[in-house]
Structures are given as C-alpha cells and as structure tokens.
C-alpha cells in the first residue's frame, strides 16, 4: 500500500489519506453506535427512590420528575430531576456499551456537552428551534434577499427616477437602521396596526402556530433587510461587468431586459458569490436577534443555558456548531463559485 501511494500524484495521496481517515471514523462510529446502551437501559438506571417517584407520578395530576433522554450518534445522556421542595438529581452517560454516573469529572462534562449540543441542535423540539431555525432562517433569508436585492439593484440603476429614488431610499433605510428594531416593528407593531396576529396565518389546530408565526415575521424582516444589503452586492457585481458586454448585446439588437438576463446577470453571478457568502454569514449570526420575538436560535439557547446553569462550557458546543455551519456553507459557496467560473 505504501509503495502504491508513493507513485501517486500529490492530490491523490491527500485524497487517499482523507478517504482513509473518514473510513476509519465511520467504522469506529458505526461500532460505537451499535454498542451504545439503549434508551431502556439508560432509563432503567434511575435509583429506587427515583423509580418510586416516577411510579407515583403516573397517578398524580402534578407530576414531579423530569426524565431527559438525549441520544447523540455515539453517546447518550439520561437524567432524572425532581422538582419541588426536595430536589433529586441523577445523571448518566452511556458510551461504548457502558453506563457511567455523570455527577462529576469527565463523565459530568461529557454529559453536559451531549445535553447542550442536543438542545442547541433543537432535537426533539419543534421544527423551528435551535440549529434548525438558524439554518432555515439563514438560507431562506439569503435566497429571498438575493432575489429582492436583484430587483432593488435593477430598480436603483433604472432610468425611472421615481423607482430609482424609491429603491435608493429603501436601501438607505434598511441598511441604516438596526435589524433588531426592524424585527420588533414587523413582529409587534405591524400586526397591531393592521389588526391581525401572526399565528392566525396558520391553522388554529397547529400547536406550533405561534412559533411559525414568529418565524414568518422574522423571515420577512430578515429578507427585507438582507435585500437591502444584497442590492448593493448585486449592483456592484453588475457594474463590474465590462461595459463592452452591454454594448455588444445592444449591437446585436437585444433590448435592456434581454441583455440583462442573458448576458450581464449570468456573468455577474460569479462575482456576487463571495459577498453573498459574507452576507450569509452575517445573517447566520444576526439570527440570534430572533430571541427578541420569542424564537430560539443556537446563541439564544446557549445564552439561556449559561444564565440558568452558569456554565461557560456551553459555548464550546455553540462555537463548534457555528464553525461547522460556516465551514459547510463556505464550502458550498466555493463549489458554486467554481461551477460558475467554468468558462474562465
């Protein structure tokens, strides 16, 4: 094997290494997953006292014990907490076929990490929670922002003075004022004035209508805001295209719309991608502002955990999740950029 590698060109060597490492990781993870204690095993760990309380709860209207079960790929975590006067607390971590008490030391930290990560990812929560909310909001806002931004950029460059001034004012306004305030106004003030409620836009039977309503408001605010930023990106990209391209299109008889859609915009897309990627990352982080309208993104959840548990460890999974999201999307944007540069 070693000899074979030596004869390969450098990139193939690297690729071979990467594939090797990934394969090992997958295999190890697979094994660990397979031998991970089951949910039943974990829940059976509860002490006798706790078991008793759980049993009591079954017949009571006011239940006392919270059972938490978080499974995260190769590791799982289970805790039992009773509320009220006498609080009991038991924590267990399951890993590699064994169950550990997670009251102190490495097991405690591991347990916390699993629990924090699980909560930040929004596992077991509604569709609009944690990492899911962050990603969906960011992706949709970017997409709508680019579309709106393109229209605004064309509007701003248009010869129609009213349209152009309007777009200019729009851009100035939305870039010039904080997103947080825009969010407030759209979620709280607009329904007040117009006499509707965001959650009424969804079925009354829907348990999650409040969250969906808030999400819709957030999406609108973020898209309107991002539209203003993207407008400047799109305009810069369009204006960076050699004037000769427009002239050649005109000389061939194409009108403004045709020249734009067939010649200028396709070429400018490549130049938009790096700044749009930037904007994406901006939105990713601005997404934490949704805390103002009752939604929870990764940052809000980690802030909450920090406030209630007073532990800074919570920022470690948060940073890791952010770096992974940023990394993955930067990679995707690079791929798209490369795809659009095929002709260069």
């Amino acid at each position: 094997m070693n000899e074979q590698v030596k004869q390969m060109p450098a990139w193939k060597k690297t690729l071979a290494k990467v594939i090797g490492v990934v394969a090992i990781i997958v295999v190890v993870a697979g094994i660990l997953c397979a031998v991970k204690p089951t949910k039943e095993t974990m829940i059976a760990q509860a002490s006798d006292e706790m078991q008793e309380m759980i049993k009591e709860d079954e017949t009571s209207t006011r239940k006392r014990v919270t059972t938490t079960y978080n499974s995260l790929i190769v590791i799982n975590y289970c805790s039992f907490t009773s509320s009220g006067q006498v609080t009991l607390n038991e924590k267990y971590v399951g890993f590699a076929g064994k169950v550990y008490k997670a009251d102190e030391g490495a097991a405690k930290v591991a347990g916390q990490m699993v629990n924090y990560t699980y909560r930040m990812l929004g596992c077991g929560e509604n569709i609009l929670h944690g990492a899911k909310l962050t990603i969906v909001l960011t992706v949709l806002s970017t997409i709508f922002g680019v579309v709106l931004g393109t229209l605004l950029a064309l509007g701003k460059m248009s010869k129609n003075l009213i349209l152009s001034k309007f777009c200019q004012a729009y851009i100035f306004f939305f870039r010039g004022t904080p997103l947080l305030i825009q969010l407030f106004v759209i979620y709280f003030t607009v329904p007040g004035i117009c006499g509707f409620a965001w959650r009424d836009l969804f079925s009354a039977a829907d348990n999650e209508a409040v969250y969906k309503g808030a999400f819709l408001a957030a999406l609108i605010a973020f898209a309107l805001n991002s539209g203003a930023y993207c407008a400047e990106i799109v305009r810069a990209a369009i204006q960076s295209i050699d004037k000769g391209q427009m002239e050649a299109s005109k000389a061939l008889g194409m009108n403004y719309r045709q020249s734009m859609t067939k010649v200028i915009i396709p070429q400018s897309i490549r130049r938009m991608i790096p700044p749009v990627c930037n904007e994406f990352i901006m939105i990713l982080k601005d997404a934490s502002l949704v805390f103002a309208i009752s939604l929870m993104d990764i940052t809000t959840i980690s802030k909450n955990i920090m406030t209630s548990e007073g532990s800074y460890l919570v920022f470690i999974p948060a940073l890791v999740i952010y770096l992974i999201i940023t990394g993955v999307f930067t990679f995707i944007f690079n791929k798209i950029e490369k795809k659009f540069s095929v002709y260069e």
């Binding site: 050699d242 000769g244 391209q245 002239e247 050649a248 005109k250 000389a251 061939l252 008889g253 194409m254 045709q258 067939k262 010649v263 396709p266 070429q267 095929v342 002709y343 260069e344």
Partner: protein, 257 residues
C-alpha cells in the same frame, strides 16, 4: 420601408458632444450598398464615436441619419426632432452588425452559443435552424472546430473571427468594424483581415475604422481621413495614400507608414 434607395446609409450634419467636448462636428457621408469604406485618423479624432453613433450606442447631438433611404433619426441640439417607430427602429438597427476592438464575446457562453444567442432571443428563430446556420458561419471563418470552446480558450484572432460570425448571424446588410485588429498580436492580424476581405468580396457594405493601411489600400472603395471630429479628406485609397492633399493627412501618413 422604402425598398428602392440610392444610399444604404447616409448621415447629414452629424455632431456629437460629450459635455463641452465636441467630438464629431458636422459629418456628412453617403454610403452605397456594397461599398467598403475605411476610416483612418489620429487618436482623438472621433472615429469610433462616429461608428457608435450610427448604431445608436451613442446618441448624436444633432444631425440626420438615414438608413436604406428612411430618415432614421433627426436631432437638433440634443432634442429629437423626428425618429421612426419602435418596431421599425429595431428592424433598421438589425441591418447593422458591429465588431469591437476588444471583441466583447460573451465569456460565459461557448463559441457556438455566442453566435446563436441573438438570432434566438431577438429574432425568435428556431434553435435548430439557428445552430445549422451558426455552424456554417463558423466554418466560413475557419473555426468550426472551436464551436464548443469557451472564448477564453481562444487566441485574440480567433475571438475576433467569432465576433464577426456572431454579428453576421443576424444577417445585417452593413457591417461596422472598430479597429478589429488593433488588439491582436501582429501575426494573428492576417487571419482576421482575410475574413474581412472575403466579406467585402461577397458584396457586404462595410465601414471600418482601422490602422491597417495595407488592408485599406487593398480592399477599400473609399478611405476617409478623420481628424478633430471632421472628415478632413476622403478619396480612393490609391489617391489618398500616394498623394494626400491635406497637410494633416500627410503628417499622419508619414508617422504610421
């Protein structure tokens, strides 16, 4: 449209200013169908501006432009006095094809797509039909084998020939060339000039701004010498090159020949 006309292209008292800079001053020109006209002159003379005014890439300040005998545009002091209907305007503009100094091929489209784009989008012709014609045109400029390459993979000379094919795909009756060879390495100039010569031989009406005196001498029916926004001298190439009358022409020819 009047089908019988004496001049395919005619300009009367055409002037053009950029702000306070008067670039064209009262240019009069009558072009017969099939004529090949070369425009020479020092830089700053306004040669490309004149070409660009013809196909409306620049709007003239005042003067009249006739295409195929029709009054296409009449402006005075930056106000339009008369022009044609929008549909007619589009039709008449399509009679003119243009090639640029820097080619201006569409970099994101292959050579074939470059040639096919305008007929399909502007004339709404059938793609298959267009493709067949485009391949023929590429054949005629000697680039059929590059049909699926992107322009960036081509040499400057090849790019310019594609640009010519692209303009011809709209089947114009007049071709405007703005220094088509001046951005090319000297040994690549020949191929482009050959394509232009073939075009002239087929009877295409051509207006060509050029620094290639040899080409002008060989192909042109008439040579215009422009300087400071006016046509300072014009004549048959054999007369103008060998026996220029205007002292400015003499000085210019001395510096470039």
């Amino acid at each position: 449209m009047s089908e019988s006309y004496e001049y395919i292209l005619e300009t009367e008292h055409v002037s053009k200013s950029f702000g306070s800079l008067e670039v064209l001053k009262d240019i009069n020109l009558k072009v017969k169908k099939g004529e090949v006209i070369c425009i020479i002159g020092p830089s700053g003379a306004g040669k490309p501006t004149y070409l660009r005014s013809l196909n409306q890439l620049e709007t003239i300040t005042s003067g009249k432009i006739f295409i195929k005998g029709d009054l296409f545009l009449h402006r005075e002091k930056d106000h339009t006095i008369a022009d044609v209907s929008k549909a007619q305007r589009k039709a008449l503009l399509l009679e003119m094809g243009m090639c640029f100094q820097r080619f201006n091929l569409f970099p994101h489209k292959t050579v074939l797509e470059n040639v096919m784009l305008a007929p399909i989008t502007v004339k709404k012709e059938h793609p298959q039909q267009v493709q067949a014609e485009a391949m023929e045109l590429l054949e005629s400029v000697g680039l059929a084998d590059k049909a699926n390459e992107y322009p960036s993979r081509l040499s400057g000379g090849q790019q310019q020939r594609v640009a010519i094919a692209r303009a011809l795909a709209m089947k114009p009756e007049i071709m405007l060339f703005d220094e088509p060879t001046s951005a090319l390495d000297p040994e690549l100039v020949g191929d482009v000039l050959q394509v232009m010569k073939d075009l002239a031989a087929k009877g295409m009406t051509m207006l060509c701004v050029t620094h290639e005196m040899g080409f002008a001498r060989d192909v042109a029916d008439r040579v215009l010498f422009m300087a400071d926004g006016i046509i300072a001298e014009e004549g048959r190439p054999e007369d103008l090159f060998t026996n220029p009358q205007n002292p400015r022409t003499q000085a210019f020819l001395k510096s470039v020949l």
